[in-house]
Symmetry: C2
C-alpha cells in the first residue's frame, strides 16, 4: 500500500481515509489482517501514536477491529466502509463546489478545469 500523505493536512484523518477507501474498493477483504501500527508508521514515515489513533477511530466507526497482541483486522461488514467513503466523497465535492463559488467560478468552469487537470 502506498501512503501518499499531504503534508499540509492533518495526517491522522488521511490515514483513516486511505484505509477506508482500500476497504471500500475491496483491496482489503472482510476478516483480512491489516498492517501493524508500527509497520504503517514506518512505511508512511509518521509516528506510531498517530497511526494508533487513526486505527482506533476506524474501530469506533466499525470498519476494523483489533485483537490485542495479534493485530488489526477488517470487519465482516465492509458495507460500512463503502457508505463512509461515499459520504466523504459527497462532503469533499460540496466543499470544492462552495470553495470554487467563493472564487467566482461556476459549474462549467469547474468541469472544464477538472478535464484539464485529469488530462496529464
Amino acid at each position: 500500500m502506498e501512503w501518499r500523505l499531504d503534508k499540509d493536512r492533518p495526517i491522522c484523518p488521511q490515514i483513516e481515509e486511505l484505509l477506508a477507501a482500500g476497504i471500500a474498493r475491496g483491496e482489503f477483504a472482510a476478516g483480512e489482517r491489516l498492517f501493524s501500527v508500527r509497520e504503517v508508521a514506518l512505511q508512511a514515515g509518521v509516528n506510531p501514536n498517530t497511526v494508533q489513533k487513526a486505527f482506533s477511530e476506524l474501530e469506533r466507526d466499525g470498519l476494523i477491529f483489533s485483537r490485542a497482541g495479534s493485530g488489526w483486522f477488517v470487519s465482516e461488514d465492509t458495507s460500512r466502509a463503502v457508505r463512509q467513503v461515499e459520504e466523504l466523497a459527497r462532503l469533499r465535492t460540496a466543499a470544492y463546489y462552495q470553495g470554487m463559488r467563493a472564487l467566482g467560478k461556476e459549474r462549467p468552469d469547474m468541469i472544464r478545469m477538472l478535464e484539464e487537470v485529469s488530462d496529464e
Copy 2:
C-alpha cells in the same frame, strides 16, 4: 462583504482568498479603500492580528497596499488578483481530483456529484 469562514481551516488564508476573489471579480476597484483591519475583525468575528497578517501577505503579493494611519487600498494593477485567483482555482481543482481518485472515484463520478451538489 460577507465573511463566510470555514471553522475547520486556517482563517488567515481564507481571508486572503475572499479578498483576492473580490478584487479579481471587480467588487473592489483599483485604488479603492478597503475595510480597516479592526472592521474586518469585528465583522468576521476573528482577531485583528489574524486580519493584519492576511492583509500583510496580500501586500507582499502586490494585491493591496497600506498607508500608515490611513487604511488599506487596492493596488492599481488588479490583474495580479485575477491571476492569483485563477492559480488558486487550478490548485484546488487538482487537489480535489487527486483526493477523489484516492477514494476510488473517477472523473465521471466527480461530474455527477458536482451536478447533484449544485442542484440544491
